[in-house]
Subunit: 444 residues, 2 copies
C-alpha cells in the first residue's frame, strides 16, 4: 500500500514557534514513546511504521519543507516536491503521477492520501487498512475516512453516509461544508461524520483523469505545467464529482492541533528553561530561548518564546491570534535546514544603507552549506566549536574552533562540517535577507 | 544646601530588568516631562534641579553603579564611591567626610541625605527646604522627613512625633520599626508618620562623631578603614542615639516603586515592541528584546522581557518573585557602562573546556574601553557600525564598519569610539566571565 502524506503550508496560528519557514508539524512538542519530544510529522510517521502492513510512504510537500522533512524523518524518505503551493488538488495529482511515472506503481494499487498532522491513535491506521481493503474490493471510486464527531463544530466538512452499511463502509449521500452549530448538531443526529481529509483510491483512477500523449511522463508534464493547474481542493475538484464515493468511519481519538488552545492539552512537560512560581496553574510553557521564563500567578494560559517572539495568551484567546501576528512582517529568526539550523541572535538597522545581522549556525557532522555567494553583504564567520573544511573561491582550507573567515560580497563560499560545527556569522550590508543568494554547482 | 543621594544596592525584585549589575533606580520606565522615558534617579535628579534653591548634589554609591550614574546624570555629577557595600551608616559617614575634606564644606552647612528612588512630587522637595531651615534654626541634631501614611503598612518604620508642633516641625517621641498591621493602624491614629529615610543635619554634627588626629583627612581614613566599619543602618547607629530629633511631615504623593506591583501603576505606555490583542487589559508590558511580545487575553499582569529573562506574572503574585529569581544563578546579560552598554546575544557551553559567548557592544562617540587583557579567552571583534581607534599590544590602528580584530588570550587591547560604534564580540575559551580581566594604565 502507498501512503501519501500531505505536508501542508505554514501558518502563524502557532506563532512564535511556527513561521513562514517552520510549519506546526515540525515542532517537537509531543511526548514520544521514550518520553522525549517528537513532532507531529514524526509521530504520524512512527505510527505508520507500526502498522501491520507493507507500506511505502511518500511525502508531498513544497521545496521550503524538504530540509525539515529529511532532518526529522531521515534522508531516505521519499519526497515529491511541488514547484509551488497550489492547494490539494494539484498536490495529489502530482503525487499520483510521481507514483506512476517515477516509482512505477501499478494502476490497480491502492493509494491513501492523508494529512501529516492529525493527532490520533493506532485505530486510525486500522481504519486506513479498512479503506485499503474497500479500494481493493472496488466498492467506490474514492473511499473517505469519516471521523466520529465529538461536538457540533463549525470548522469541519461533514459527510452524510447513506443508512445502509456493508463490511464497515457506507456510500456517501452528501457533503456539507462548515455548517453552523445548529445545522452541525442536526447532521450529527442524522449520523454525519467529519471529513478527516483522508482519501483512498486506485492509482489508475487519478491517472485516468490526466490527459497525456502516450509515452510521455505525466509527472514531468505536471511539474512543468504546475503553475497553470487549478488552485482548488481535491474535495471540490475530484471527490465531489466522483460517481461512487464510500466512507469508512473512525470512532477513536482524533485531534486537530492547529491552535495553541488545542495543542496545549497535548504538550507534556514544559520545554526549555522555565520556572513556575506562586499560583501558576493550568499553563503550558514552551521556551526555545536560552534565557529563563519565570511564571508567577499565571492561570490557564500559554507562554511560548522563540527567536521569533514571545506569546503570552489566555488559552481561549489564543484562537484569535492570527491577525495580530500576521501584521508583524518579520523575517524568520530560526530555521531548521537539511544541514542543521540557524538562529538570528542580533539584528540592527543603523540607516537604510547600513544594517548588521548576526546568526548562530549549527551544522551537523558530515553536512554541508551549499556553494553560494551574496551580492549585497559581507559575512564574517567565526567557528566557535567543531571542525570543518571551508571552500572560498575555489580554494579549500581546514577550519577549527577559533578560526575566522572574511567573505566579501560576491565571493563564493561553502562549508562542510567534519564534526558538529558551531559558527557565529556576522552579516554587514545594505540589505540582509535570505533571498540574496546565488548557488553554484559544486561536488565535494 | 548639600543633598546626598544614596544610591542603594541592586535587588532582583524587578527581575528581569534589575540584576546584580543594574539596579531598579536606573530602569528607564517612568514618563519624563517631554513624554519620553526616564529612570528613578533621573527623575529625582531633575526634581532637585527644579528646586527653588542653590543645591549641590553628591551621589553616594558603590563602584558598580558609577558608570550607570555618569551615563544617566552626566559626567559632571559629584560621586563619592564606597569601597564596598556596608549599609547606610558607613555610607553616610563617608559622604560627610567627603563633603568636609574634599569639597571643603563648612561645619555649619546643612546636609540632606535622601534615597535616590522615591517616586514623589515637588512638595517633597519643598519639605526638604523646610528641613534645611529647621537645621539652620538648630531645632535638633537630626531632622527627619515623616511621610503621611496612606495605609497601615507592615514594611515601613514609623515615627511618632510629640503633640506639640512649632514652625512646621515636631520633636520625635519614639521610633517603631515595622509594626504589624493592627499596631500600625493604632500608630497612624496616634499621628505617627512613615520614616522616609530622609535625614537633615549640620555637617559638623557627623564630623564631630569621627575620631581623628588633627590635620588628617577623615575621608582618606574612612576609605582605608571602610571594610572595618560597622554594617549598620544610619537609623540605628545615629538617629536613634541622637538627643534631639525633629520630624517635618510631608503629606503629598510618595511611593516606593520596589516591586512590579507598585511600579506597574507608574509605567505609562508599553516599552518596546509589543502587541496587545483580544481581551488584554490592566497589563503592563516592558520589552527590551528586539523580538515582539504578543499578549492576548492577558488581564491584570506584568510582562517584562530583557536579555536576562522573561517574567510573566500576575500583579499581586509579582511580590513573591524573589526566591524564584534568586535561584537562577545567571550572569548579567545586559549592562550599562560608562562607555555605553553591552548585551549578551548568545552563550553556549559545548563542554567544561569549550564555551562561546557573543556580545553586541555599543560604545558612545568619544568613549573608551579601558586597556585590558584576558587570561582565559580569545576575542574576535567585528565592527558592525561606526569608526574608532583600536589599540593592540601598544600599536594603534583606525577601525571602521566591517573591520575585524583577533585578540588572543593575554593580548592587551583597548578601543576608542570616534563615532558611535557597534561591535560584535565573539569570546572563546574554557571560562568566560567578567572577572577574567587585567586592566592597564594607558593615556590616549
Amino acid at each position: 500500500m502507498n501512503i501519501v502524506l500531505l505536508s501542508g503550508g505554514s501558518g502563524k496560528r502557532l506563532w512564535p514557534l511556527s513561521n513562514n519557514a517552520r510549519s506546526k508539524q515540525f515542532l517537537k512538542l509531543l511526548t514520544s514513546e521514550d518520553e522525549g519530544k517528537e513532532s507531529m510529522v514524526q509521530r504520524v510517521y512512527r505510527q505508520i511504521g507500526q502498522m501491520d502492513a507493507d507500506v511505502h510512504v511518500t511525502v508531498a510537500t513544497s521545496v521550503a519543507q524538504v530540509d525539515s522533512i529529511r532532518s526529522q524523518l531521515g534522508a531516505e524518505v521519499d519526497i515529491v516536491t511541488e514547484p509551488e503551493r497550489r492547494d490539494t488538488y494539484p498536490a495529489i495529482m502530482l503525487a499520483a503521477a510521481y507514483l506512476y511515472d517515477v516509482k512505477h506503481c501499478g494502476l490497480e494499487e491502492p493509494v491513501i492520501v492523508m494529512p501529516v498532522d492529525p493527532y490520533t491513535e493506532q485505530g486510525y491506521f486500522d481504519t486506513i487498512r479498512k479503506m485499503e481493503r474497500a479500494v481493493r474490493e472496488n466498492v467506490a471510486d474514492i473511499v473517505l475516512m469519516g471521523i466520529d464527531p465529538t461536538y457540533p463544530s463549525e470548522k469541519y466538512g461533514y459527510i452524510l453516509p447513506k443508512r445502509e452499511k456493508k463490511n464497515g463502509y457506507a456510500e456517501v449521500q452528501k457533503f456539507i461544508e462548515k455548517p453552523d452549530t445548529s445545522k452541525a448538531a442536526e447532521l450529527i443526529a442524522a449520523g454525519a461524520l467529519w471529513n478527516g481529509g483522508v482519501f483512498a483510491f486506485r492509482l489508475g483512477y487519478l491517472i485516468g483523469k490526466m490527459d497525456a500523449e502516450p509515452e510521455t511522463s505525466r509527472f514531468h508534464m505536471l511539474m512543468e505545467q504546475y503553475h497553470k493547474l487549478k488552485k482548488i481542493s481535491f474535495d471540490y475538484e475530484v471527490v465531489e464529482k466522483a460517481e461512487h464515493i464510500a466512507v469508512v468511519p473512525f470512532c477513536g481519538m482524533w485531534k486537530d492541533l492547529g491552535t495553541w488552545n488545542t495543542l496545549a492539552e497535548e504538550i507534556g512537560t514544559d520545554t526549555g528553561l522555565t520556572i513556575r512560581g506562586e499560583g501558576t496553574a493550568d499553563t503550558k510553557i514552551v521556551n526555545e530561548l536560552n534565557i529563563p521564563v519565570v511564571a508567577l500567578g499565571v492561570k490557564d494560559m500559554v507562554i511560548a518564546a522563540s527567536p521569533d517572539g514571545i506569546l503570552v495568551s489566555g488559552k481561549d484567546a489564543s484562537s484569535f491570534m492570527k491577525p495580530y501576528v500576521e501584521a508583524l512582517e518579520q523575517r524568520p529568526m530560526y530555521e531548521e535546514r537539511r544541514w542543521g539550523s540557524y538562529k538570528v541572535i542580533d539584528y540592527i538597522t543603523y540607516s537604510d544603507e547600513r544594517k548588521s545581522l548576526t546568526k548562530h549556525l549549527e551544522i551537523h557532522a558530515g553536512k554541508k552549506l551549499s556553494y553560494q555567494s551574496h551580492a549585497k553583504r559581507d559575512e564574517i564567520w567565526t567557528v566557535v566549536d567543531g571542525t570543518g573544511v571551508l571552500l572560498l573561491d575555489g580554494h579549500t582550507r581546514n577550519v577549527k574552533r577559533g578560526d575566522v573567515a572574511y567573505i566579501t560580497a560576491g565571493m563564493k563560499h561553502a562549508l562542510c562540517a567534519v564534526t558538529d560545527l558551531h559558527m557565529i556569522e556576522v552579516q554587514i550590508g545594505p540589505e540582509l535577507d535570505e533571498e540574496d543568494i546565488v548557488r553554484y554547482a559544486m561536488e565535494w
